[in-house]
């Protein structure tokens, strides 16, 4: 069983990654299920984004699970939307992209939302990388401020900040590492060595990356079969409370 913990499904920015396209690529790459986000922060400038996103989840409940990509600048409106998404529309997690929301993860406004997710039992996927607002040590401060929320650090700090990602995850037990899109071939091995297989999730960042590239990174890590089961499916199933998947 392979569950992709980090995939995108939307039509935006020239990317045409509809559910059909995503499912085809998943099949090519041997991915059984995917946890997806859209490409627009909601609420925001794209009024149809929310409906597109939950529409994809509804259409493929056994294949696709969702993190709602939230825009904290909308305050209470955004909080209400997230509550509704979890209660009524099957959303299981929250996504925060510091570059597009123009807020670092340790900003008070962001921390409010990360805490809200924790209260609702939803994990938060936070993009990290080389960009100024998306640094692992900023996510570490967020993790410290929100000990009751599980946070997945997407991309593990990009090219130059991966060591910070490891250091942050070592320090904060509520931080999980997602090596998707990280260009270092040995990144999965480094992640597992740092925090154990229990806190590393497999992601593809589709359509930015292809599943076969990301699977190769897991292969190169030479994990034991139990470790591989956790990384490929068990951890994200536990975090997202996916039905029918052994954690």
């Amino acid at each position: 069983m392979i569950i992709d913990a980090h995939a995108h499904c939307d039509v935006r920015f020239g990317w045409v990654h509809t559910p059909d396209v995503l499912l085809r690529v998943m099949e090519e790459g041997g991915i059984d299920q995917a946890c997806i986000t859209g490409l627009a922060d909601v609420p925001g400038d794209d009024p149809d984004a929310y409906d597109r996103f939950v529409g994809a989840l509804r259409a493929h409940p056994d294949k696709l699970h969702g993190y709602l990509r939230i825009n904290p600048w909308y305050g209470e409106e955004a909080k209400a939307l997230f509550r509704r998404a979890v209660a009524e529309d099957g959303v299981r997690g929250m996504k925060l992209h510091p570059t597009t929301i123009i807020l670092p993860p340790n900003a008070p406004a962001v921390i409010e939302f990360v805490r809200l997710a924790g209260e609702l039992g939803a994990p938060v996927l936070i993009h990290s990388g080389d960009e100024p607002n998306a640094l692992p040590l900023q996510i570490a401060k967020c993790a410290e401020a929100c000990p009751d929320t599980n946070i997945i650090m997407g991309h593990m700090g990009g090219v130059f900040f991966f060591e910070d990602a490891l250091r942050a995850a070592e320090k904060h037990p509520n931080l999980y590492l997602d090596p998707s899109g990280n260009p270092r071939p040995d990144i999965v091995r480094k992640a597992v060595d740092a925090v154990g297989a229990e806190r590393v999730v497999f992601g593809t960042d589709m359509p930015a990356m292809h599943p076969n590239v990301e699977k190769k990174k897991v292969e190169l890590a030479r994990l034991t079969p139990p470790q591989e089961r956790l990384v490929y499916a068990g951890n994200i199933a536990r975090l997202m409370r996916l039905p029918g998947v052994p954690a």
Partner: protein
């Protein structure tokens, strides 16, 4: 009406803001085909062969070329000057025997469409023996290092020493000494529009026309003619709208002759548009320098001696002009300060990395960064205020023109006035209270300041690219319309508007009646395009001279038409009138019409027919030198010397190393400002690029010579969200050496912010009880965090 000094919106705003600019990629020619470049994946290798069979067999491919073809049918690409004694190798448009950096062009493919060209490029097989590369300039200087050019015997492109007085004795005698090493990292300009060229061929005239995202059409024509073995008359260079250049589009890149060569060969238009990864790999790099310094000072803060060792990593040899940045860095030391005993050693080193091309600030930034860090250290050691140390070392206003130890001839300035205004307006002396209040909230903020000297109007002996003159033609047409054709160009920075203002002021016509034509070798007088802030200084001065000559002629004709004395004539609002009696007037259009249509009448018959003048302006700051070395063997390389002071306030998070710039203020002296609004706009852009370099941008190579930062995901640049709102003030000490008094502002604003934020970070961390000196750029969160951890032990 006065036009010079007025905030006039850029003439091109309406077109560009509406998205209706015409860039190279927008130009459509029938039958256009597309070029793709096969680039070296190796940092250093001996080339055995290039197999192009599979690529040539791909349907849709029209031509494939390798270094062997180029060597057979072209000449090496020339360099812009050979007068400074740098080592040289022949630079071919495609590699012929050795590969010297990842991204070097090895083969070129032309196909019916871009995708086929890219696919065919993928099929080209490079056969070579990979060799160990050298990517560290200090390692490159060691005996036994791999050699970038084996025939040279070492990796030094050039070196030089400036020595004045007895710095060793003065250092020994000084009451105190400071030392350190600063490093500016390798980075580049990343203009929004990458490079791009489109060439077409007219068989009946055997003539090539190239449209290029370029800066210097006439210079490019010279270099293309030499490379392609054609006459200059057979080459027509056009610069359409350009989406940013910053020096990095100065000639000559291999792709420029290649598109022309293919177009002539195939008798079809050929286009090449650079991709962002190519831009980062091979579009010209800059900045990578290390300056080790030792300075002696007295208790009153005066610096009495300075020794500097400069090592610059130029990347691989090329036909580009970037190598000069290392020489300029050495040339501008000790900047705005009077330090009598100085020794500067420079090593311009080649490595297996992308060659340097010119980039805004052109080496002045590294020198300025070092000098300002040095002054901060002296302040720290003496316990004096950072500003006070600078004030005590400045060249004084009554000492201009000032001959610096390197031979630099500084035209004008009042550094104390500029700095004092900055300190007053920037709240320097009141900052301690703000800092204490922040500390009480758990925030660490710091203030820093710096002084920059950014000489402009560069002039290199025997150069076909950088010289201190330019030409402008002003034509008044029979209906009174004014057309200005100039050899300087405007890659998006508004020179056309400034030049129109200068002409409008002379002729008393509205600016909308003036059309400025640039960037066309068939239309404009010979000139050297855009670089080194030369457009207004040289092109604008030439425009002023030409317009003045036309004004005098129009005044003579009008005086005869009005039957008044020529000395009583005035121009304004499109009219020519009797001073003190504006009702007694003729329209500008009527006088122009009289000149053209009534050439044999009394008002005109003593004048040469026509209203068309071309003038060349040569800058006066070189007359005394006559471009020959002075008795000490020194040359002056710059016309004007703009300068400015910068103040920065930052907040540092010691837990993450993240630095937020809360305030950036500058007081700047560019002499007379033709258009203050456009000067501010240029400075805004410079500040953004400066902060990009200070905090984000870094071209990182691994030890095998592979570039790790080839996309904007990993080569990060600042966004508006990362920048504060900038504050700018202006002072004016006119340059005495040109008729405008202008000094240029195109490169200002890079050096100051770098040094000011470094100073401010140090200051902020002092509040947290942490002693650091940020000497190495960029100040990434990781580097700041590590410095904090080291300081904490």
């Amino acid at each position: 009406m006065r036009w010079v000094g007025k905030n006039v919106p850029m003439k091109t705003n309406r077109i560009l803001a509406a998205g209706k600019g015409t860039y190279v990629a927008d130009i459509d020619l029938p039958g256009v085909c597309h070029m793709a470049i096969v680039r070296s994946p190796y940092a250093r290798a001996r080339l055995r062969g290039v197999d192009t069979k599979a690529a040539a067999a791909l349907p849709g491919v029209l031509a494939v070329a390798t270094g062997a073809d180029v060597q057979r049918e072209m000449q090496p690409i020339p360099v812009h000057t050979q007068a400074l004694g740098e080592k040289r190798i022949p630079i071919w448009a495609l590699a012929v025997d050795e590969l010297r950096y990842v991204g070097e062009p090895v083969a070129a493919v032309v196909a019916e469409d871009r995708w086929t060209a890219l696919e065919a490029a993928r099929l080209v097989e490079i056969q070579c023996d990979e060799l160990p590369a050298v990517v560290d300039p200090n390692r490159a200087l060691e005996p036994g290092s791999p050699l970038v050019v084996e025939a040279w015997g070492d990796n030094v492109l050039s070196s030089g020493v400036v020595h004045q007085g007895d710095p060793d004795a003065k250092l020994a005698a000084a009451s105190g000494r400071v030392s350190g090493k600063i490093r500016t990292q390798r980075y580049t300009g990343v203009s929004i529009e990458p490079r791009g060229y489109l060439a077409s061929y007219e068989r009946y005239r055997d003539r090539v026309t190239i449209y290029g995202s370029i800066q210097s059409p006439h210079s490019l024509r010279i270099f293309l003619a030499e490379t392609l073995g054609m006459r200059e008359n057979q080459i027509h260079v056009i610069e359409p709208h350009v989406g940013g250049a910053f020096g990095l589009k100065l000639p000559t890149y291999p792709e420029e002759p290649l598109v022309c060569w293919f177009a002539r060969k195939l008798e079809r238009p050929v286009r090449w548009i650079e991709e962002r990864t190519e831009n980062l790999l091979a579009g010209g790099h800059a900045r990578e320098m290390e300056l080790s310094f030792e300075a002696g000072y007295e208790p009153d803060g005066r610096v009495t001696a300075l020794k500097v060792r400069l090592v610059a990593d130029l990347g691989a040899p090329s036909a580009l002009c970037g190598w000069g940045m290392a020489s300029v860095a050495a040339f501008v030391i000790p900047g705005v300060y009077k330090i009598p005993d100085v020794r500067i050693e420079r090593y311009s080193v080649v490595t297996n990395k992308c060659p340097w091309n010119a980039y805004r600030a052109y080496g002045k930034e590294a020198a300025g960064f070092m000098l300002e860090r040095m002054m901060d250290l002296v302040a720290e050691k003496t316990g004096l205020d950072r500003a006070e140390v600078r004030l005590r070392n400045f060249i004084q206003p009554d000492e201009f023109p000032f001959k610096q130890v390197t031979g630099a001839s500084l035209d004008s300035g009042d550094y104390p006035r500029v700095l004092r205004r900055l300190l007053e307006e920037g709240g320097w002396s009141r900052f301690a209270e703000e800092q204490a209040a922040a500390r009480a909230r758990g925030e660490y903020i710091g203030i820093g300041m710096s002084y920059e000297l950014t000489p402009e109007g560069g002039c290199i002996p025997q150069s076909s690219l950088l010289s201190a003159f330019d030409g402008t033609r002003v034509q008044i047409r029979p209906k009174g319309e004014v057309v200005v054709m100039t050899g300087v160009t405007s890659p998006g920075c508004g020179n056309e508007t400034g030049i129109a203002q200068i002409v409008a002021e002379e002729l008393g016509v509205p600016i909308d009646d003036i059309e400025v034509l640039q960037g066309d070798t068939d239309v404009c007088p010979f000139g050297l395009g855009n670089s080194s802030s030369r457009s207004v200084i040289f092109g604008g001065s030439a425009a002023k001279l030409a317009a003045r000559e036309l004004r005098d002629k129009m005044a003579r004709v009008a005086s005869r038409m009005l039957e008044v004395g020529e000395e009583d004539i005035e121009f304004g609002d499109g009219k020519i009138f009797l001073r003190g009696a504006p009702a007694r007037s003729v329209s500008f259009e009527d006088v122009a019409g009289q000149v053209y249509r009534a050439a044999f009448t009394l008002p005109v018959c003593d004048e040469e027919p026509g209203l068309d003048v071309t003038r060349y302006f040569r800058h006066g700051n070189f007359e005394a030198m006559n471009k020959k070395p002075d008795p000490e063997g020194r040359l002056n390389f710059y016309s004007t010397w703009p300068n400015g002071a910068t103040l920065a306030v930052v907040q540092v998070d010691p837990d993450t190393g993240v630095v937020q710039v809360r305030k950036l203020k500058s007081v700047h002296d560019a002499g007379v400002l033709v258009n203050p609004m456009l000067v501010d706009a240029n400075l805004h852009g410079a500040f953004a690029q400066a902060l990009g370099g200070a905090f984000f941008e870094d071209l990182v190579y691994d030890e095998s010579g592979q570039l790790l930062t080839t996309t904007f995901m990993d080569y990060t640049i600042p966004t508006a969200a990362d920048l504060p709102s900038f504050e700018i003030g202006h002072e004016c000490t006119p340059s005495p050496f040109n008729p405008l008094g202008a000094k240029g502002a195109g490169e200002s604003g890079i050096t100051g912010p770098m040094a000011a934020v470094a100073s401010a970070i140090d200051d902020a961390l002092r509040q947290a009880g942490i002693s650091v000196h940020m000497m190495e750029m960029p100040f990434t969160p990781q580097r700041v965090w590590r410095a904090i951890e080291e300081a904490r032990g």
